[in-house]
Symmetry: C2
Subunit: 388 residues, 2 copies
């Protein structure tokens, strides 16, 4: 890579800032090539050489200048990631979807722009924000044990606090038990879905877990779905996860944002914006959680919650695209094919809508009464308390 | 700026990824110059023209090529920030510490590499991670009201959950009251320190707030410091904040990380690494909070808590520099002049240290018994239960 002087943007300048004090030096790209160009001759060797191999499956070298630069930038992000993780025995490579079509087919690469991570005998697809921050954090998560053990009340509290995430927890006799199948299953979902296990009677009792039972906690739900305790196979657990994994309320996360967005329901998403750190946003989110809990058995409902604080670079883009003010909570319907949208009008009232009012609106969305097309020539927004 | 093709790294490629679905397009730099080069002729006009003006005070054009590029990258980060915030009426400029020394003096710019934000008649210094993400989020925070009103039990719960932040809350009669001085004071600390107010009797009662009283909550503390209710002036409140603002336990945040790091005690920091999302990390953090609560009146103690999840690009750098494994919680002493460090050995035991054991170790640090120099030719780490 010739562009070695492009020290990476998220990290620049900082080194020169703090000359007097040491301990917070952000890395900048050192110019050394670490990313391999994968082809038929070298791919087997690369797979053998590293504990983990990350391959970016990309479009052929584009003719358009802007897109060429974008591809170079992508490679740079990968180079910086490789540099930062240098001591972790992770290989990085690029696979051209045209020139290396044969290798891609052999390796099962399908989606251009995705990063495929080969670890042991499984493949993990990364379809999130392509920045060095997000990638490094994601890969460090993949390096951790896929199952975390819960063995005391404090760790149990940590487990119970993670309401934003999909979590499974199983109770087993010990390492040498049906735990093994649970562990195998966990590897298929790492790091997207969190797996926990306990060998501790008191912890199991607190969670009402029977021996060999596996519980699935949907985000924000208090009651788990239960896979009864018996000799569970890896495939039974995998099947159980697939059956439950689309949540009624799910938070958009940088590490799988595009995958979440692609998983629309009939071409639309119900999207809620709420800053959890903000009192108004927190209140709205609590109402939303109530609604989700009441409707958790409705397979047609899956609300995407976006905390604008997690995506500062997208905030003004969303404000422009959706014509909403994101300093306040918002909920609306977005058509994913054209980003056309319609939003619940919460501007005239001091109070946020109640859970019942929100449910009525959501019913109207699901029945098609509220949709992104009807408003296109009407001026007024939908008003939840009836005064349009 | 000629380098318009350098579409910004944190955001690249993504546009070309999701052609089928709309709604998540990260911005890339469009090549338009928005950042002004500030000099004696244009600075007054710039101050008048914008609601808010952000000036980067930078070193003179360096002779060294690598540093030249770093300066260009910095400007690019500023350009992308300006583009993203285009509709918010914020101006951006660069001030050369040599060429524009006179202007800098007039404006009171002192620290090279800092960004100075001029809003109304006050100046806010930004000394955090210089990335577009962090900057945009910071500036959006500056645009919000400096005081948030708490008016119902749900908002109160949101307030009580923010234990990581320094928070002030005051109880006033209404907008037209001693609230005004509180509001003025809040502007001096925005957005670093959060100010809340309530005009609601029930909220005040829940917090045991008397009329016109102001309470200061140090991070992680349950009991506030109290500024008794009477006619408080802006300066009294400002003084009160300054007196309390260095916390016994403070979390490192991207938006003021360098400022926090510069605020060392006798050249050292006690640094704790703990992932809050990890059961082990959570447990360690709870122990640490206990220790902080027990020692909140010790002015010599200020522990910097770093959640590695917040700084993925620094994680492996810290592992190398400090020779620690950050998949597990760690606590140590870091000398900020050379990043030399010594860490409490927690490797041999299954259990984490108790609050008492941690306090003993901290006492040894404060008395100088544990320090970063002594271990330089000794192999063993300090072991908290005595078996070295």
């Amino acid at each position: 890579m010739q562009l070695f002087w492009l020290s990476l943007l998220p990290c620049l300048y900082v080194t020169s800032l703090c000359t007097a004090e040491q301990g917070l030096e952000f890395p900048s790209f050192d110019g050394k090539d670490r990313v391999l160009h994968i082809n038929e001759r070298n791919y087997k060797k690369a797979l053998k050489r590293f504990d983990m191999l990350c391959l970016l499956y990309h479009e052929p070298q584009p003719a358009h200048k802007g897109r060429q630069k974008q591809l170079q930038m992508t490679e740079l992000v990968l180079e910086l990631t490789a540099q930062v993780l240098e001591d972790k025995d992770i290989g990085f490579g690029m696979v051209d979807s045209q020139k290396d079509a044969k290798v891609a087919k052999k390796l099962g690469l399908e989606e251009e722009g995705s990063l495929y991570i080969f670890k042991d005998d499984r493949v993990i697809e990364f379809d999130g924000e392509f920045s060095a921050d997000t990638l490094v954090e994601f890969l460090l998560d993949v390096l951790e044990d896929p199952v975390e053990l819960i063995s005391n009340p404090m760790e149990l509290r940590a487990f119970e606090r993670m309401e934003e995430d999909i979590r499974l927890i199983g109770y087993f006799k010990g390492e040498d038990s049906y735990y093994k199948a649970f562990q195998e299953a966990s590897e298929r979902f790492q790091p997207y879905i969190k797996f926990f296990a306990t060998f501790d009677k008191a912890t199991a009792k607190h969670l009402s877990l029977k021996m060999n039972e596996v519980n699935f906690y949907e985000p924000f739900m208090e009651e788990p779905a239960i896979l009864p305790g018996r000799q569970l196979s890896e495939m039974e657990i995998v099947e159980f996860v697939h059956q439950h994994k689309r949540a009624t309320l799910r938070k958009l996360r940088a590490e799988d944002m595009f995958e979440t967005w692609e998983d629309d329901l009939d071409g639309i998403h119900i999207v809620a914006f709420a800053e959890e750190e903000d009192p108004d946003g927190y209140e709205f989110l609590e109402i939303l959680k109530d609604v989700a809990r009441d409707n958790t058995n409705n397979p047609e409902l899956s609300i995407v919650w976006i905390d604008p604080d997690d995506f500062p670079l997208l905030t003004t883009y969303w404000e422009k695209t959706f014509k909403v003010n994101l300093f306040k909570p918002q909920i609306g319907v977005v058509n994913v094919t054209d980003a056309d949208s319609v939003w619940l009008d919460m501007s005239n009232d001091e109070d946020l809508p109640t859970a019942e009012e929100l449910e009525d609106w959501i019913e109207d969305v699901l029945s098609g009464k509220v949709n992104t097309e009807d408003d296109d020539d009407v001026k007024d927004d939908y008003d939840y308390d009836g005064d349009v």
